[in-house]
Subunit: 326 residues, 2 copies
């Protein structure tokens, strides 16, 4: 564990404990199988970034005392719902080192428990009795589904542009981070400036988070990753490291990259040859630079807030997104 991560976990210890308790308390399954599947996906070592951002956003907007911890679960339940559906869509085997739910309980069960968690998320949002909050959660859900569909429609599409990649990750990831931050600002009832500040923080953090995630697929070992490296590629997902390298490489090397990409299976040697090409044609570095840029923008967005331990923690979390190795 990095030193930064250790310090974040220390500072956020009490909040993270509250989050675990809230996630257990508010899921309310009526059937054992729902409890089992929801528990499998919810309590598998998630980082709880989304609920933590929610709690910290309430706090930085000076709305801590009254912030109901139940509300921090909204985007984690939503996240868990999409993980259940995405693993199915991607045909994944492992998630955080554990067998995926649909392989244990069946595809149908995974779809339906995903639906349940999605509805649960909206039920809890409804408890805020704040229409803006509810509209936000519904819009986030809608955007996510469309982001995933967009991604799916671009499987193995060599012509995917960086712009399309940005659209996809904005919808499938950044809107959720943005939503988790914005929801708390709406509940706190702060003015436009602060609402925009935490929303922008969430947006840029989400973009950077997804880019870092996409990088890890090429730079991380299986054990830290909890799934096989190259998993994105095996699923036909072309992410920024590949998209950029394809654009930068001259014809012979571009063809070499394309050849490996279009294979349904590839050997370790082929995967290594590919990552070498991604490095050589700047795909890895460009992605890292873009992620750094968004982290900087996330931090910049917080400038409207005075210095505080909460703001410090926000800034540390922004750095952590680039620092993490899983």
């Amino acid at each position: 564990m990095s030193d930064l991560k250790r310090r974040i976990l220390e500072m956020a210890k009490k909040d993270l404990e509250d989050i675990e308790a809230a996630l257990k308390e508010h899921v309310h399954p009526e059937l054992k199988i729902v409890s089992d599947i929801a528990g499998h996906i919810l309590f598998a070592g998630g980082k709880r970034l989304r609920p933590l951002l929610g709690i910290l956003s309430a706090r930085i907007c000076d709305f801590d005392q009254d912030f109901d911890r139940a509300f921090s679960t909204v985007f984690e339940y939503l996240h868990a719902a999409t993980l259940l559906h995405d693993d199915l869509v991607d045909g994944a085997d492992l998630r955080r080192g554990k067998t995926v739910a649909h392989s244990i309980w069946g595809n149908s069960e995974a779809v339906l428990v995903g639906d349940f968690l999605l509805a649960r998320s909206l039920s809890i949002a409804a408890k805020t009795r704040n229409c803006d909050v509810i509209a936000l959660v519904a819009e986030v859900t809608q955007a996510m589904a469309q982001g995933e569909i967009h991604q799916l429609s671009k499987i193995k599409s060599l012509d995917i542009s960086e712009e399309e990649y940005m659209q996809i990750i904005r919808r499938k990831t950044a809107v959720v981070f943005r939503g988790a931050c914005r929801m708390s600002a709406l509940i706190a009832g702060v003015g436009e400036e602060k609402k925009k500040a935490v929303s922008d923080f969430g947006h840029h953090l989400g973009i950077a988070f997804q880019m870092a995630d996409d990088l890890l697929d090429y730079t991380c070992d299986a054990q830290s990753l909890g799934k096989n490296p190259g998993a994105d590629l095996a699923e036909g997902k072309l992410t920024l490291p590949v998209i950029h390298a394809l654009k930068s490489a001259p014809q012979p090397q571009r063809a070499a990259i394309e050849k490996i990409i279009m294979q349904d299976v590839f050997s370790n040697d082929e995967f290594e040859a590919l990552t070498d090409l991604l490095r050589r044609f700047n795909g890895i570095q460009h992605t890292r630079q873009m992620a750094e840029r968004h982290v900087a923008q996330a931090k910049e967005a917080l400038s409207v807030f005075q210095e505080s331990s909460t703001k410090t923690l926000f800034l540390m979390i922004a750095d952590y997104v680039l620092d993490r190795n899983a």
Copy 2:
């Protein structure tokens, strides 16, 4: 087409046209594939009972002029979302005589467009800016997912009780009909008595509707049904006609019923032998009687409202549920 159905279609002509227009107008897909799949499931000859109940409920609560037709789409989008997911869960081939979406576009696409429609439904509910409405829609979504999971957990379970069957159909069907009616009463802001009246109407109508649906699987021909008769059984779903016959039949005939049920495939002769047994041991008649009882209760619920053409239409719809042949 029955005479009753013809008269209903005549009386509801304008409303049904409004509903079609609203369904087209408010779906808002951002991607062509979402539009294609959503269109395939939405515009395939659905009866529009749920949105019609919504409009009529607003009208019987004296809230017609201002009722935004967009709100009538909420439970139809939700219904379409669950059809997409259920067809996948059930491994169905046909829906209303058309190839199911997941066979045309793929399982992943069907899951994700289902998620989109589910979120769309909640987004539109959020536009009412009425927290009770939004909470209702979220709760209905949650109940439906759990109803489907419950049903799935009882596939080929010979020990399923009539009580469990009632629990399943309440969650998976009746809550939606109840929701469509109740939502309008909430928007109209009527008192408890009328709110309860339309909610009870929807509940009992939904129960009767599902029982009639379960009956059709044993009594209807393939062409009217738009799918193969015995489809429920082929999917391992034990519905009231079977549950009741299993309880009533003496051991040798019970064993004969069980044998056919537990087969993965069955011949036409076997299916006919089964329906004979269901008749002989009162499964068909009992289900019909139960459905009739719930239709009577639905009608009874409306007694708080004065006579009007809207109320007449409500009563006709209640009768139609038993009258329909598809």
